[in-house]
């Protein structure tokens, strides 16, 4: 009874091949960038500089790994990640200055961070708008941290923390390892686990996901927990490097993270994208910044170019995605 059609698959529509093309584009962009970079500045193409770029991408990169889950799940993004990072650092420092050993302080900190993520996810699962919820949550976290510290930096004294902040493993800083590790974990979770699959399903169409038995409330809570953990990790690394937790200096985190996710080509509506792409997005931004820094361009010019590049890249992804046959 099947209708006969003389249909032959054309490569341009095959999702597998368009995925390959996407990677070809991304990697191509990096190669072009590297070539131009190396041409104008010899220092750009050195291994040291490569490491420096990875290190520069590491902080917002690791948070972007968590944030990608939120975007993929169709809950847009969180505007509380910077504050979560700050709060995690402050909380750990406060606990340690109260005399708790590092291990316990870290466990307690993450317990609180997980709770905070779960609370936000829970409110959003109840039907609240994610942007408004996280905007509010971020403001409250900033308020609480200010209240707890009176605005003072909180010093941390611990050899372990010192190592976490400044250690190197085979010459590569701990932060870079943490970034690579979170990329691997995020990739694995998205591609190889039920949670990952259900996150994508929910982002692609929440109503269908629910009708197919996906527990969207649970997934919502989990993705916000994951993002909070990633932010908490960053906060602890930030605090560890200079042995003190600070209340200021996390304003740009949210935007850097969102930029990494979007430049990586993850769709803002959810359901399409991957943590690997976000990681590349973060590295890409870091590379461009690094290059302009090495040429000692003024901050204004650097900012203009960063903005213009973001526009060009997101528009490029958008057009490529449409051509694929939306």
């Amino acid at each position: 009874m099947m209708t006969e059609t003389g249909y032959t698959p054309t490569p341009s529509k095959s999702p597998a091949s368009s995925k390959v093309m996407r990677w070809v584009y991304i990697i191509g962009a990096f190669i072009v960038l590297a070539a131009i970079g190396g041409f104008f500045n010899r220092a750009f193409l050195t291994p040291e500089n490569g490491l420096a770029i990875l290190r520069a991408a590491a902080m917002s990169g690791m948070v972007a790994m968590g944030a990608t889950f939120i975007t993929l799940s169709g809950r847009f993004f969180s505007l509380a990640l910077g504050q979560t990072a700050m709060f995690a650092g402050v909380l750990m420092a406060v606990l340690m200055s109260a005399g708790l050993p590092f291990g316990i302080a870290v466990v307690l900190t993450f317990a609180v961070i997980i709770l905070l993520g779960a609370l936000q996810g829970g409110i959003i699962a109840m039907g609240a708008n994610p942007i408004v919820t996280t905007l509010g949550a971020g403001a409250i976290l900033a308020g609480l941290a200010g209240l707890a510290t009176g605005g003072k930096n909180v010093p941390i004294e611990s050899a372990v923390v010192e190592w976490i902040g400044n250690g190197r493993i085979i010459g590569v800083p701990t932060q870079t390892w943490a970034f690579l590790f979170s990329v691997a974990v995020a990739w694995w979770v998205i591609n190889k686990t039920r949670l990952g699959r259900e996150t994508i399903l929910m982002g692609a169409n929440r109503a269908t996901a629910e009708a197919s038995g996906v527990n969207v409330a649970l997934i919502t809570i989990l993705v916000f927990i994951i993002a909070s953990i990633a932010a908490g990790m960053m906060g602890i690394f930030e605090a560890a490097q200079f042995n003190k937790a600070r209340v200021m200096g996390f304003d740009a985190v949210d935007f850097n993270v969102i930029a990494a996710v979007l430049i990586g080509g993850t769709a803002i509506q959810g359901g399409r994208g991957s943590p690997l792409q976000s990681a590349l997005g973060a590295v890409f931004i870091a590379t461009v910044q690094n290059y302009m820094l090495l040429l000692a361009w003024s901050a204004g010019v650097r900012t203009v170019i960063t903005g213009a590049l973001i526009v060009v890249i997101v528009v490029g992804f958008h057009i490529a995605g449409k051509r694929k046959g939306a």
Binding site: M2, K13, S14, T193, R194, L201, S212, R323
Partner: protein, 500 residues
């Protein structure tokens, strides 16, 4: 002066690899109703959109009243006297009826005050039989049929001579359909030329003067309705005669698989009882709003069951169960709105197929690729879905194939009970027969199936047991052999006179 209002010659339009329109010729005379027919994906809507100025064809010429015309923007198409009500409902819920009428480029100068709008909108609303309406109420508060009529009122307000209606009755009740049909006839009599797109082939014989069929993007020459039969129309559409629309019925049933006792929900305050045996297909016949879909929603857990009990294979579902609980008891549910909650249009066919079976394909939470492959292979086989397309976006498939994916995805959890609302809404006649065949085969394999439909032929042809519903009440339960279409139609429209 000839009486040809619109002439299109050699129109072609491709979307990437899909040749949606392939050298299409089309002609429309003054004052006639031209039915535009074809399978899903045949190119009907694309042709309509070319006329609306939404698509620019790659080749071809268009003449209006004998003069060549360049379309390509909605403004040009307006200027040419063409007005289109597209397939998707296009009224804006938050705005009022009057505002909706004047928004789409219809002239209205001066301030848009409530009073002025109401005054100017009145004649158009009257023309479509909505003269009584308070035109300042947001249309989201109106019934679907009224919204459809407002769309037509908007066409009239443009003073266009050529009106195009793309599946205006797809989502309407029989009685509302009558309103639309009467209106179309009246407008044609008043001198409008009308292109009427539909999958309800019966309508064609009532209101159309001529028929143009499209098949795979190519056009057949127009034919007079009076020269045609239903079988001939179908043959033009699918390129071969349709032997059997409906599969043979079951010979016997098994144990009771689904049992509802005194169930009520907010939408269904009257108690509902229902028994469905393994292997049985129960058809709930009723108009939109009659409660047929609400009953399915109640069983599926999409609506909250306030009182009463539901059991599957003798196991009683918990009170006020959720969708996911129903699933665990072996209930699969396809709503009538595929795009909304039936498929993931942007994801691959294979991903869609395994969505309800996450537990099976991710044992210990880890994705098992082999299981996914096995399951998609099995479903593709059972539902006759081309396995080569397993990695395609579902949104790129035809309506019929999308519906097969929406149904087939349930096979992974081997449901005891399958609930299907409007199994063939917007699905063309060939794919329709195919879907009926699949449903029957699933029943034969031991599933209990309940479907709801506002299409009486469908219920009569497919169901083993028919339940008619009217305003949330089960009017009666009958065997198809014992009733005619006529009785069913009366039951679902005005049952009072008959039922004691």
């Amino acid at each position: 002066m000839s009486n040809v209002a619109l002439e299109m010659k050699g129109i072609s339009k491709a979307f990437g690899a899909v040749q949606a329109l392939d050298n299409v010729d089309f002609e429309l005379r003054r004052g006639e109703v031209m039915a535009l027919l074809g399978e899903n994906g045949a190119g009907k809507s694309t042709l309509v959109k070319v006329l609306a100025g939404l698509h620019v064809p790659e080749t071809g010429s268009i003449k209006i009243d004998g003069k060549p015309f360049n379309l390509g923007t909605t403004q040009l198409s307006h200027a040419a006297g063409i007005a289109v009500a597209e397939q998707e409902l296009s009224v804006i819920g938050t705005l009022s009826a009057a505002e909706n009428i004047f928004l789409g480029g219809v002239p209205f100068s001066g301030p848009w005050t409530r009073k002025r709008l109401a005054e100017k909108a009145k004649p158009y609303l009257e023309a479509v039989g909505l003269g009584h309406l308070d035109s300042s109420v947001p249309v989201e508060r109106l019934a679907v049929a009224e919204r459809q009529l407002i769309e037509i009122a908007r066409l009239l307000a443009t003073n266009a001579r050529i009106l195009i209606l793309d599946e205006p009755t797809a989502a309407l009740n029989d009685s509302d359909i009558e309103r639309v049909k009467a209106l179309v006839t009246k407008l044609a009599r008043e001198g409008h030329s009308i292109i009427y797109v539909t999958h309800r082939l019966g309508e064609v014989f009532e209101i159309a003067d001529r028929i143009t069929t499209l098949r795979g993007g190519r056009s057949n020459p127009p034919e007079n309705v009076s020269d045609m039969t239903l079988a001939k129309v179908i043959e033009r559409m699918i390129g071969r005669p349709l032997e059997e629309m409906f599969p043979p019925r079951a010979s016997g049933f098994g144990e009771a698989a689904l049992d509802l006792r005194n169930v009520t929900t907010k939408a269904l305050p009257l108690m509902q009882n229902l028994k469905v045996r393994a292997g049985e297909i129960v058809g709930l016949a009723g108009q939109v709003g009659s409660g047929t879909e609400s009953l399915l929603r109640a069983i599926a857990g999409a609506d909250i069951v306030e009182t009463g009990s539901i059991s599957v294979d003798g196991r009683r579902l918990p009170k006020a169960h959720k969708l996911s609980t129903a699933m665990k008891y072996g209930i699969g549910y396809c709503s009538s709105d595929r795009k909304l909650d039936g498929v993931f249009a942007d994801l691959a066919v294979s991903t869609n197929m395994v969505a309800p079976s996450m537990r099976q394909v991710t044992p210990r939470f880890i994705v098992n690729r082999r299981r996914i492959r096995d399951l998609t292979g099995r479903i593709s086989g059972q539902m006759a879905i081309d396995p080569k397309r397993a990695e395609y976006r579902v949104g790129a498939l035809s309506g019929g194939n999308q519906q097969k994916v929406a149904l087939g995805k349930w096979l992974g959890i081997s449901p005891r009970v399958l609930l299907v609302a409007e199994p063939t809404r917007g699905v063309d006649v060939g794919a329709r027969a195919e879907i009926y065949g699949h449903l029957r085969r699933l029943a034969d394999e031991g599933m209990a199936i309940v479907f709801s439909s506002s299409d009486i032929d469908e219920v009569h042809g497919l169901a083993d047991t028919i339940i008619t519903m009217y305003r949330g009440r089960q009017v009666r339960t009958v065997k198809p052999a014992d009733v005619g279409n006529h009785d069913l139609l009366r039951d679902i429209t005005h049952p009072e006179e008959e039922v004691a």
